[in-house]
Structures are given as structure tokens and as C-alpha cells.
């Protein structure tokens, strides 16, 4: 038997693997049927006899014990062969017999043993004989097909098997035989003890197996011990498939002492060693808790990281980095000769660190120098430029108003209304509706400026804002305060009326026409008042719209000359007014629109880059300074030529087509304008990438992904995958970490089998604590948002593990937003 092992094992290995699965399933099925329909002892024995085949069928039913032992030994021998041929298979083989008895023991204690014997006898038999037995059931015939290919060795094996009597088998293979048994017996013994202690009802059924066990009572000890010893020392080399090599131990010790082989070179002669390493690979991997991929397990598929070719010949060999196991060709990496001892790639040795630090600064300098160009010959150029910058930057930064363009009609309408109020004392109300940044405030403010020039001291302005004055009480007090300030009412009066009703009453008194109220206060005249209400729609949300009602009522009833100008972005704002408020509103509207065409847009935007002739004096530009005309001619020429350049046109168009927001465009002009200097006076919009920072807001949260570490990204991807894979919209840390570890596990298996390059830190599985930190970081960055309170009822409880979150990033967005390494990219791609 031993001799056969050594010769037939190489081929046997694959075959026995094939056999293992079907035969064991057959076993299970049979057991299952025996569970369902209880059979008698005789039945079982008969069955066993039939299953056992030709060499056993003469045995009478009472000899089931003998059958059992024989079958077991055969099976164990099989297992032993497998363990010799393929060390990794051992645990699996061990597992099956152990589980089998455990299940069976619970239901059919005494019937189990013969049944098992029969099953286990039949399976080695089927592997031995070419032609399936008639007693064999159809399940095990499935195993025949792979066997046919090698009739000779099978026949030899059969011969050996038949010749060999049971006692020698036991003597020869005692350690293997015990493989399945001890655990079962231990378990049963334990169960016995427990049952005895708990005085359970199952004692009668449990007794029989115990008695059976007692027969083998002395066997375990004597047999177990040599086996242990064998595993430790006198075991044949693992790679039975290949000629055993003496330097096997050397390889072993090398694997144990350092995670990677130092500067391994490929040689044709070393092929055998490589093969050995293949066998050793998985084991070694298991041993290393660090999770580092060792480079040794995929030598055959190792390709150069640069040219992706696997060939490795004398002048141009593949060299491995000792830190990250990156394989490269000597020529690809520029290595003249194979280095002795440890070799570390440039990436790991961090040679580039010091050089790049200096290089960056130089680059910056040189590009700044490149921007210098001719300075026009204009007197007082420096001063002209700086004053122009002052005005233009103030406009771009929204500190000076730019003129309203293309909104003349709206302006006329509003101005007429306000003028009527001031001059004729009419009460009026009007809504100014338009998108953000279209010039509502500019319109109103320039209106007021114009009016105050025309009618000095004939009106007051009260400004309210929906965001600031969040309820009517605050708004009223604010009105009172502003009027008091403008009318120079004493502070005491203002401060005295803290009561809402008092404020209202005195305000109404203040606003009402003098003739209506008998006791007119001195110093309080009936001047016109213009109310500018910003974010008008928010005032409509206040309780009962008291303020709006009163203001509109005053305006409509001509109690006092007031004009109410409401500014809002909502076109349906009137719908939100109560009926009584709506009926008092004059229903006058002014709609402002964003620029309708690109030239119109440029017309508005141009004010941020150039000053009109008529505005010069107004903006405080010194007209009399020498060279004024020449400078502005030069400057306007510059702006016009800038407008002609394609880059600038694209920039302008992108703003026009995305938002039409003038102020957004002007914001982008701030830094280029500020960067102008007499030595570098030419404007560059948009700025050259990389030179300066952009002032534009980020598009989405995705910019955050760039700042995540690999682990953060892995957790995020794992959580986002769960969205799709497990069809949940909420995840917690436990789920995401579980997904992460299983992905990581699969990844390691794949990289080990496909020979893909393990990507350094990417192959490392991080512990729960570190992953928890990563998870918290994702939360802090807002990439995970808390699921609604009460989602699964775990909100706030259960710590980090159980709290439910929603992933704010979709899986498909991740690869687009950030450059992922190959592993993470695949996780995003393959569901």
C-alpha cells in the first residue's frame, strides 16, 4: 500500500478529490433516507452487505462490526493518501466524518454505525473498481466517469486492496484510521457525561454507542500518539508530486524568517524549487497573520510590472522588491545588474522624496517668470493700473454695485411706483420677482439712491430680511427701531416698548395719517416710508401673516404713504398669501430675468472688467492724471482681445450655460485681477491650471473622496455595495465591515490564484478598531448620513456597530470621482 502510494499518488490526487465529493453526498443522502424511514438492524446489515461489494458479501449480518472496521480502514487509507498527496485537504477530510456521526447520533444512534460502515465501504470500493457494482446506487455512479481514464493504476490498486488483509491495513495505517474517529468519540463521551449529569431521558438510547465505543476503548490512545509524532517529524515531504529535494527545509526556514525571498531571480534550473513554492504558498500565507502576500505563490504568472511580460532570461531578469514584492525587468527598471542581497524599488526606497520637494518650487518660479510681458509705455502706468484694479475688484467682490443692464422696463415700473408714494403720498405695494443674482437688490438699491438724490429727506427706508427677522415680533421691533433711528425718536421710547402689542399700536400710530389720530405726537410727521422686504416669501410663513396684513392694509387704505417692495425668488409667492392679505395686495409685479443671450451676459459681466467712460468720475477715477486716456484705451483693447480668445469664451459660456450668474463669473475674476502688477499687466482668465487656486464652489461632495485613505474608500465602497448587493438602503458598521472583510478575503484568494500582483497596503486587512476610525471619519465628512431616527429602532443605541446610516455616494460615482487602485476599482465594477 505504501509503495503504491508513492507511485500513484500524483495522479491519484486529482482523482480522489473528484471522488470525495459525490461519495460523501451519497452517504448523506442515504443517511437521510434512513432517518426518514426507520429501518431495522437486519435491513441495514443487508444493505451494508450489498453495498460492500464482492469481497464482503459472504459476511453474515451480525458481522457488521467487522465491516465497520474494514470499511473504516479503507476509507481512512483513502484519507491518508489524500493527506499525503495534498496536505491542505486534510482538514476537510477530517471534517466530514466528524460531522456525520454527530448528526446521526442524535436520531438513530444504534443504526448509525452499520449505515456509516456501509457508506464508507462503498465509497472506497467505487474508487477502486472500474465497473460500478450492482449494489451501488445511482448517486455514486456519477463518480465513475473521471475514473475511466486511468484503468491501469486503478486495477493495480484494486489488486493491492484485495490482497491486503484487514489486520495489516490497520497496522500499516493506524494513524490515518483514527482521523475521523477520536473527535466523534470524544463528543459522544462528553454528551454521555452531560446526559448523566443532567439525568436526561435519553440514557437508554445513548447506552448502545457507548458500549460500542468501549470495544475500541484502548485503541485511541495507542494510535493517536504515533500520529502526532509523525506530523511533527517523520512525515514525507509535502510536495509528493515532485522529487523530494533536500533543500526543502531551507525553503521552509526562509519562509518563516522573512516574508519574502530576497532578490529572487528566475532561473530555468530553479524551476523545481519554484514548483515547491507553489505548494507551499497557501500554507505560508496562512501562517502570516499580517496578511502580506508573499511573492512566492504565483511565480509562474509573475509578470513585469512595467511591460507585463513574464519572460525572465539571463541578461534581463525579473527582480522583486523586498518591500512591496513588485516584479520588474532589469531593463524596464534600468538596473544594470542583479543586485546582491536586499533590493528595494525606487518607490519603496523613497529616493524621489527629496528631489520632488525642490523641483516643485522651481517650477513655480519659472512659470511666474514666463508670464512677464511687455509693459506699455504710458505715464503713471502704475497708478492707473492700481486705481483700475481698485474699482474693478470692488465690483467683482460685490462691494460696489454694477449698473443694471437690460432691465429698464422693470426699473421704470418700480421707480414710478416709489415716486408716486413719495410725491403723491400714495400707498403702494409691489413684488419684485426674479432668480438669485439677477439684480433685484441692485434694482431696489439703485432706485433708492436715485430717489434720495431727487427727494432728499422726504422719505424713510425700512429694510427687512426674511432670514434675519424670523418672526413678526422681531420684524415689528426692527421696523420700530429703524424708524426710530431715522426719525430720531428718543432711545427711551424705542426701548420702552418691548411689548408686541405696544409696538404694534405705536407703530400704527406712527404710520397713520395725522388727521386720523387726534393726539398727534410732536416730531412725528407723515413722511413716506419705503419698506424693502427681502425674502418676502419667508414672511408669508409667519403666523397669520400679521405683519404683511398690516402693511398691505395701511398701503391700501391710504392711512399713510408707504410703499411695500417685496423681493422674492418664488414666482408663486402670491399663492402662499392668506386671502385677507392677498386681497389687500395691489398685485403689481415686476419680473426680472437673467440675461437671455451670451452677448447680453457679456454686456453685464464686462462691467467687472472695464469701466465705462461716463462712470469714471463717479467711481472716483482721477480723470486728470496724465496718461488717463492712453491707459484706458490700452486696457479696453486688452479686454477686447481677451474676449476674442477661445479660453475666455469657453469660460464665459460655461457660466452662461450653467447658471447665467453674473456674480459667479465676476468671482472668478477676482484673483486674476488681483494678480496684475505693473510688471505683469496682462489679464489671464481663466487662470492657468495649477498656478492659482480657484474660487468656485465645489460641485458635490465627491471632492471629499480624494482625501480619503484606502481603508476609508474600502469601507465606503463596501457600504455602497451593500446598497446594491443586499438591497438595503441603510447600512451599519457591522455590515460594512463584514462586507469589507469578505471582499478582502476573496481578493486575496483571487490574487493568489490568478497571480495578480498584490498591491502592497491594498492587500492588507485592517482590524475592526482601525476600520471603526475610518467609519467615523466617513461620518464626520458627511459621506454617511444618519438614517431616519427609528430606522430599525436602533438609533442612538447599540454603539458604533448598530447605528444605521445612509451612504450619500452611489457606487458608480466613486470611480469617476477619484483614482482608485485596481482592487478597489474592481469592487466598484463587479457586483
Amino acid at each position: 500500500m505504501v509503495s503504491r502510494n508513492s507511485t500513484a499518488a500524483p495522479r491519484k490526487r486529482t482523482r480522489s478529490q473528484n471522488d470525495e465529493e459525490p461519495s460523501s453526498t451519497a452517504k448523506k443522502r442515504r443517511l437521510g433516507t434512513s432517518e426518514n424511514s426507520p429501518t431495522t438492524d437486519a435491513d441495514v446489515a443487508d444493505d451494508a452487505g450489498a453495498g460492500a461489494g464482492a469481497d464482503e458479501d459472504s459476511k453474515p449480518p451480525p458481522a457488521t462490526n467487522g465491516t465497520l472496521r474494514r470499511g473504516r480502514s479503507l476509507r481512512a487509507a483513502q484519507a491518508g493518501k489524500q493527506s499525503l498527496a495534498h496536505p491542505k485537504e486534510v482538514p476537510a477530510v477530517e471534517e466530514k466524518p466528524r460531522k456525520q456521526p454527530k448528526q446521526a447520533a442524535q436520531l438513530a444512534k444504534d443504526k448509525k454505525q452499520p449505515k456509516k460502515a456501509q457508506a464508507s465501504v462503498s465509497s472506497p470500493k467505487t474508487s477502486v473498481y472500474d465497473v460500478p457494482d450492482s449494489g451501488e446506487d445511482e448517486l455514486s455512479t456519477a463518480t465513475v466517469a473521471p475514473r475511466r481514464s486511468r484503468p491501469k493504476s486503478a486495477a493495480a490498486a484494486a489488486a493491492a486492496d484485495e490482497v491486503q488483509p484487514p489486520p495489516p491495513t490497520e497496522g500499516d495505517e493506524p494513524p490515518k484510521k483514527k482521523r475521523g474517529r477520536p473527535s466523534k468519540r470524544d463528543r459522544e463521551a462528553q454528551a454521555e457525561a452531560q446526559k448523566a449529569a443532567a439525568s436526561s431521558i435519553e440514557i437508554p438510547t445513548a447506552k448502545k454507542p457507548k458500549g460500542k465505543l468501549a470495544e475500541h476503548a484502548e485503541l485511541p490512545k495507542g494510535i493517536l500518539t504515533p500520529r502526532k509524532g509523525k506530523v511533527g517529524g517523520g512525515r514525507p515531504p509535502k510536495g509528493v508530486a515532485f522529487d523530494s529535494r533536500p533543500d526543502d527545509e531551507a525553503l521552509d526556514s526562509l519562509a518563516a524568517e522573512s516574508p519574502s525571498k530576497s532578490a529572487r531571480k528566475r532561473r530555468q534550473a530553479a524551476d523545481d524549487a519554484d514548483e515547491m513554492a507553489v505548494d507551499e504558498g497557501p500554507k505560508e500565507e496562512e501562517q502570516q497573520a499580517s496578511g502580506k502576500e508573499s511573492g512566492s505563490d504565483e511565480e509562474d504568472d509573475e509578470v513585469c510590472a512595467i511591460c507585463s511580460k513574464p519572460d525572465s532570461d539571463a541578461p534581463n531578469e525579473i527582480v522583486f522588491c523586498d518591500n512591496c514584492d513588485m516584479p520588474v525587468h532589469q531593463e524596464c527598471y534600468g538596473l544594470a545588474e542583479v543586485p546582491e542581497g536586499d533590493w528595494i524599488c525606487r518607490n519603496c526606497s523613497q529616493d524621489d522624496v527629496t528631489s520632488t520637494a525642490h523641483g516643485g518650487a522651481d517650477q513655480m518660479k519659472s512659470s511666474v517668470v514666463a508670464r512677464e510681458d511687455q509693459r506699455p509705455d504710458i505715464p503713471n502706468f502704475d497708478q492707473h493700473l492700481r486705481s483700475a484694479q481698485r474699482v474693478l475688484l470692488d465690483r467683482c467682490a460685490a462691494r460696489r454695485r454694477i449698473k443694471l443692464r437690460g432691465q429698464d422696463e422693470a426699473y421704470e415700473k418700480a421707480s414710478q411706483l416709489v415716486e408716486q408714494t413719495i410725491v403723491a403720498g400714495e400707498g403702494n405695494s409691489m413684488l419684485i420677482i426674479g432668480a438669485r443674482g439677477c439684480g433685484k437688490t441692485t434694482l431696489v438699491e439703485s432706485l433708492i439712491t436715485d430717489m434720495s438724490k431727487q427727494f432728499q429727506n422726504q422719505f424713510h427706508v425700512v429694510r427687512l430680511g426674511g432670514f434675519i427677522h424670523t418672526d413678526d415680533k422681531l420684524a415689528l421691533r426692527e421696523i420700530w427701531r429703524q424708524l426710530g433711528k431715522e426719525m430720531e425718536v428718543e432711545d427711551e421710547l424705542v426701548n420702552k416698548t418691548t411689548n408686541y402689542a405696544d409696538t404694534m399700536a405705536s407703530l400704527l400710530a406712527l404710520l397713520s395719517h395725522p388727521s386720523e389720530i387726534a393726539e398727534t405726537q410732536d416730531g412725528v410727521t407723515s413722511k413716506s416710508i419705503i419698506f424693502v422686504i427681502d425674502e418676502f416669501d419667508l414672511f408669508a410663513t409667519h403666523a397669520r401673516q400679521t405683519l404683511l396684513y398690516n402693511l398691505f392694509d395701511i398701503a391700501q387704505a391710504r392711512k399713510a404713504p408707504i410703499a411695500v417692495l417685496g423681493l422674492t425668488t418664488r414666482i408663486d409667492v402670491v399663492e402662499s398669501l392668506e386671502k385677507r392679505v392677498k386681497s389687500r395686495f395691489s398685485h403689481r409685479y415686476v419680473y426680472l430675468s437673467l440675461p437671455k443671450s451670451l452677448p447680453a451676459f457679456w454686456d453685464v459681466c464686462k462691467q467687472g472688467l472695464s469701466i465705462d467712460e461716463e462712470d469714471m468720475a463717479l467711481e472716483g477715477v482721477d480723470l486728470k492724471l496724465k496718461g488717463h486716456d492712453a491707459f484706458w484705451e490700452w486696457w479696453n483693447g486688452k479686454i477686447d482681445s481677451l474676449y476674442q480668445t477661445q479660453g475666455f469664451k469657453d469660460h464665459l459660456e460655461s457660466h452662461f450655460f450653467s447658471t447665467k450668474s453674473v456674480s459667479a463669473f465676476l468671482t472668478t475674476c477676482i484673483l486674476p485681477l488681483a494678480a496684475l502688477s505693473p510688471t505683469a499687466p496682462s489679464l489671464q482668465i481663466p487662470t492657468v491650471a495649477g498656478l492659482s487656486v480657484s474660487l468656485e464652489p465645489p460641485d458635490s461632495k465627491l471632492h471629499l473622496l480624494g482625501s480619503l485613505s484606502d481603508l476609508d474608500l474600502s469601507m465606503l465602497i463596501a457600504a455602497a455595495r451593500l446598497d446594491i448587493v443586499a438591497h438595503t438602503d441603510t447600512v451599519n458598521f457591522a455590515m460594512a465591515y463584514d462586507e469589507y472583510t469578505s471582499l478582502m478575503g476573496r481578493q486575496r484568494v483571487q490574487s493568489a490564484s490568478s497571480g495578480m500582483l498584490a498591491l502592497g497596503g491594498g492587500a492588507r486587512v485592517w482590524g475592526r478598531g482601525t476600520a471603526g476610525i475610518a467609519w467615523e471619519r466617513l461620518v464626520a465628512l458627511g459621506l454617511l448620513v444618519p438614517a431616519a431616527a427609528g430606522g430599525r429602532g436602533t438609533a442612538g443605541l447599540g454603539g458604533l456597530d448598530a447605528k444605521m446610516w445612509k451612504v450619500d455616494v452611489a457606487l458608480e460615482e466613486i470611480p469617476a470621482a477619484v483614482k482608485l487602485n485596481a482592487v478597489l476599482a474592481r469592487w466598484c465594477r463587479e457586483i
Partner: protein, 509 residues
């Protein structure tokens, strides 16, 4: 006159600042342009970026220097920084704004109450608008971490953005992590991005302060070795797991002594970087460097760039970190917990876990002895399929293991029933496990009295939590009360093994 001309701030300020904060020169220049009264001061400014990228520190340092500058060219700047992490409520925020602005302006008015944005506007207008200031004056108000303000009304940010419309000489700066689009609800605000440091950035930041020279090594060699070492640490730890400057700095300082151990011992010289790297490879894989439990005592080694932002982070992460720390601590001390608790509470806790993690409908299968004469355990088979780290067959939509979903609430009565069902078996298990028949037996025979006590003990240790509306009132022993187990799988598994119970066998997925 001077006020009408454009002028950039003093170049000297910018260069010194750029040396203090390496790799942030572009941001410093842009920021100074946008804040300096003589340049292009804007009304609102949003500064955004992830944690520990120098947002707060650079803003504060720049403003300090700009305000210290003599006002001889007609431009003067005052500033106040309000950190939202220090303000518990919105009102707290308003009042600290008023207080800090008054301090900065040396305003001697009486302190006033300030409950709403409206009042804040009035107070600020009093100090900045109605008081006449020189032409080139500007006040910069910095709201640090305003996106993390607690109890903020939803109109807070738009309202604060309107302050500078009302008060022309005010610049408002918002420092946030990630601005949602149009979160200020005004037309275009300049946004200044502080990107994460890249690898060369990290290295050059740490190279600013190299460690003292090693024995038998020149300072230059040490600095070179330090640079290469930090790069290696970056690749091993920072990029892989924790990409922030504080954790990176901490990892470097913690690893440096171990890395240079061979140099101290004299076995290697500072030039043999690759040999040192191979020798220290184990340390580079040490995960404890990043783990909070170990980090806690060494957190003082943060650099200046992070001193201001850390409170923000801590404030944010505090509530979540707390339970995590206890959980991991308990996971480590799982065995300890088993030692500390008497047997009955331990078994009760296991029963609670089963009650929390098994569906009610499976109770009959698990615990009933009616049909089969003995209990059928769920068995590890179904559970191990969804086990941690093991591969499992994938259908189109995978089922998530129940124990990953967190604990569910259970009715106390059900848990007691489960406990009663498994008690006999488990107690004998634990007895045989412990081999201490005498003492335990006496304890166990006591009956129901100690169950109530045990539940109370578990509840007071927060291992068991009362949930539902009656959590505040009601009798704790009310059988209809709902509870939830508050310990995780690792602890329970350890606890179960401590008493000889394999908890996996009792879970049905």
C-alpha cells in the same frame, strides 16, 4: 487717496507665513487677497476642506499678522474668530460673537442680551456701522466650523451671510468641511479650497522639524533619513488607513525610535535605508499605531496646524466615539467581563442576546422540547454561512446576517422564558466548565430572587438597556417592558465560551 488704489498686503507677512505653513502658499496668498482691505476684500468667504488641512490655523495666523500691521497706509483690519464647537446653542454663538467683536474693537458699551440674529445684527451694526470708522477699515468675522453648530436654526447660515450686506465694512468668513451647494442662499460666494496634503506635502511638512541627530550621524544625514522614513510611513500607514496629518505625525514620531533602533545599536548606519526598512517591517504593519485605545495618551504630539481644528472634530466625534471605545475595551476585556459577572447574570445576558437576535417565530424551533423530545438547536450551519470574513454563496440579493443588523428590542417576558428554557442545560455546562460545584450550586438554587437582581445589575451596567416610551417611568420588572441587549457579538461569544455555551448554535438566521 491711498484708499482708492489697489494694494496687496506686505510681502514679508506672506513669505513668513508660507514658511510656517509649508505647502499652503497659494491658499495663503488667495486668502490675504480676499481679506486685506487694500486688496479685494469680499463680503462673504467660504473656506472649506477636510480636517487638519490648516484652514483655521492659517486664517487665524494671517489675520493676526494683518491686524498687527501698522495702519500707516490707511488700511486697518480687526478680526474676531468664533468657534462653533465652543458654542452650545445658537444664542451662545450670538453672544460670543458680540462679546468677541466688542473685545476686538475695545468697545466699552454695556453687554447686551442677544437671542436672535436680528438682535445680533443690531448689536454688530451699532459697533461697526453707526460708529464712524476710517475709510480703509474692515472687520473680519470668522465663524469656525459653523456647519457643526449645535441647535442651529435652519436660517442661521443665510442670515449670517446677510450680515455683511447690512454692514458694509464687515467680511464674514465661514470655515466648513464640505459646503453643500448654495448653502448660504446668496448669489455666488468665493469658495477657497484647502486640499488634503499630498505625499510630498506631508513629507515636506514633517521635514520642517526633523528629529535630533542620531549617534554617529550628521544632522543632514538624519534629516535625509527622516524624509525617506516619513515617506515610507506614509505609504504604509497614512495612505492605506489614516490620511490625516495628526495621525501621520503621530505614527512617525512613534515609529522613529523603533526604526532607528539598529542605528543606536550600531548594526546599521543611517545610509542603509533599505536594510533599516526591512528590519523595521514588522513595526510598519503595527495597526495599534492608528487605534484609538493606544493613541489616547499620545495625542499631545499634534502639530500647530491642527490645534484649532481638533476641538471641532472632537466635538463632532465625541458622541460616537464613546460607545466605540467602550465596546472595543469590552471586546478586549471580554474574558474579564465573564470573570466579573456571576453565573446567573452571565446566562441572563446570553439569553438577552438570543432574545435580541433571534426572531420570535423561531423560538418554538429553538427552545421547545415538545415535538422531538429534545431541543433542536439552530446550529452553526446557517449562521456560519453569514459568518465574518468567510465567503458565502451569493444570490442576487444577499441576505444580511441578523447579528450584523444590530440588536432588536424584546419583551422581558420572552427573555425570561428563553432563560427558563435554557437555564438547566447552560448551568450544568457552566458547572462542568468551572468545576466549582459547591459554591455555585448554592447560588443557583436560590430561585427567582436573584434573577431580578441580575437584571437590575445588567441594566445598571448598561449591558442591558430599557427601550421604548416607558423607559423613563414604569416598573423595571414589568414583564411587558421592552429591552435591548447592548453588547456586541464578540463579547457575547467570549462570554458564552466562558460558561461553555457556543452561542452560534443558538442563533437562527
Amino acid at each position: 487717496m491711498s484708499g482708492s488704489l489697489f494694494q496687496l498686503p506686505d510681502e514679508l507677512i506672506l513669505t513668513t507665513l508660507a514658511q510656517t505653513f509649508p505647502c499652503r502658499e497659494a491658499q495663503i496668498r488667495a486668502l490675504s487677497t480676499l481679506l486685506y482691505p487694500g486688496a479685494a476684500p469680499c463680503r462673504n468667504l467660504v473656506i472649506y476642506g477636510t480636517e487638519a488641512t490648516g484652514k483655521s490655523a492659517i486664517t487665524a495666523a494671517l489675520l493676526t499678522r494683518l491686524s498687527d500691521q501698522p495702519a500707516d497706509d490707511g488700511f486697518s483690519l480687526q478680526y474676531a474668530v468664533v468657534n462653533s464647537a465652543e458654542c452650545i446653542t445658537a444664542r451662545h454663538l450670538y453672544e460670543s460673537v458680540v462679546g468677541k467683536v466688542a473685545d476686538a474693537l475695545a468697545w466699552d458699551g454695556p453687554p447686551s442680551r442677544c437671542e436672535t440674529v436680528s438682535q445680533l445684527t443690531v448689536e454688530l451694526a451699532k459697533m461697526l456701522k453707526y460708529t464712524t470708522r476710517p475709510d480703509g477699515f474692515r472687520f473680519v468675522l470668522v465663524f469656525d466650523g459653523i456647519d457643526r453648530q449645535r441647535d442651529a436654526p435652519h436660517t442661521l447660515l443665510p442670515a449670517l451671510a446677510r450680515l455683511s450686506e447690512i454692514i458694509p465694512s464687515l467680511t464674514t468668513v465661514f470655515i466648513v468641511t464640505s459646503p453643500p451647494p448654495h448653502f448660504l442662499l446668496t448669489s455666488s460666494v468665493p469658495h477657497l479650497h484647502f486640499p488634503t496634503y499630498t505625499k510630498p506635502d506631508f513629507i515636506s511638512i514633517l521635514s520642517v522639524s526633523p528629529p535630533p541627530a542620531l549617534p554617529n550621524t550628521t544632522a543632514q544625514e538624519t534629516a535625509d533619513l527622516w524624509a525617506r522614513f516619513t515617506a515610507a510611513v506614509h505609504d504604509a500607514l497614512a495612505r492605506a488607513a489614516s490620511r490625516t496629518l495628526p495621525s501621520f505625525t503621530h505614527a512617525c514620531t512613534a515609529l522613529w525610535p523603533r526604526f532607528t533602533g539598529p542605528i543606536h545599536a550600531g548594526t546599521h548606519t543611517a545610509r542603509e535605508f533599505s536594510k533599516l526598512l526591512v528590519a523595521a517591517r514588522v513595526h510598519f504593519q503595527d495597526e495599534r499605531l492608528l487605534d484609538p485605545g493606544v493613541l489616547a495618551l499620545a495625542l499631545t504630539t499634534t502639530t500647530t496646524t491642527t490645534t484649532i481644528i481638533t476641538p471641532t472634530q472632537q466635538q463632532q466625534q465625541q458622541p460616537k466615539k464613546e460607545p466605540n471605545n467602550t465596546t472595543t475595551a469590552m471586546a478586549n476585556a471580554g474574558a474579564d467581563l465573564a470573570h466579573l459577572l456571576p453565573t446567573t447574570p452571565r446566562l441572563l445576558l446570553l439569553a438577552c442576546y438570543l432574545a435580541s437576535h433571534n426572531a420570535t417565530k423561531t423560538d418554538l424551533t429553538l427552545f421547545s422540547t415538545h415535538h422531538h423530545g429534545r431541543r433542536r438547536r439552530g446550529g452553526g450551519l446557517s449562521v456560519s454561512g453569514g459568518g465574518r470574513g468567510r465567503g458565502r454563496p451569493r444570490s442576487k440579493h444577499r441576505k444580511i446576517a441578523r447579528k450584523l443588523l444590530g440588536a432588536h428590542a424584546f419583551v422581558l417576558e420572552r427573555m425570561l422564558a428563553i432563560f427558563a428554557a435554557v437555564r438547566g442545560e447552560w448551568e450544568s455546562l457552566s458547572l462542568s466548565q468551572q468545576q466549582q460545584q459547591q459554591g455555585e450550586e448554592v447560588l443557583l438554587q436560590k430561585g427567582d430572587a436573584d434573577i431580578g437582581m441580575a437584571i437590575a445589575t445588567l441594566a445598571s451596567l448598561r449591558l442591558l438597556v430599557r427601550v421604548g416610551g416607558t423607559a423613563a417611568g414604569g416598573d423595571a420588572m414589568d414583564c411587558g417592558g421592552k429591552w435591548r441587549v447592548n453588547v456586541g457579538w464578540e463579547v457575547i461569544r467570549g462570554l458564552g465560551r466562558g460558561v461553555g455555551v457556543e452561542v452560534e448554535e443558538w442563533l437562527i438566521d
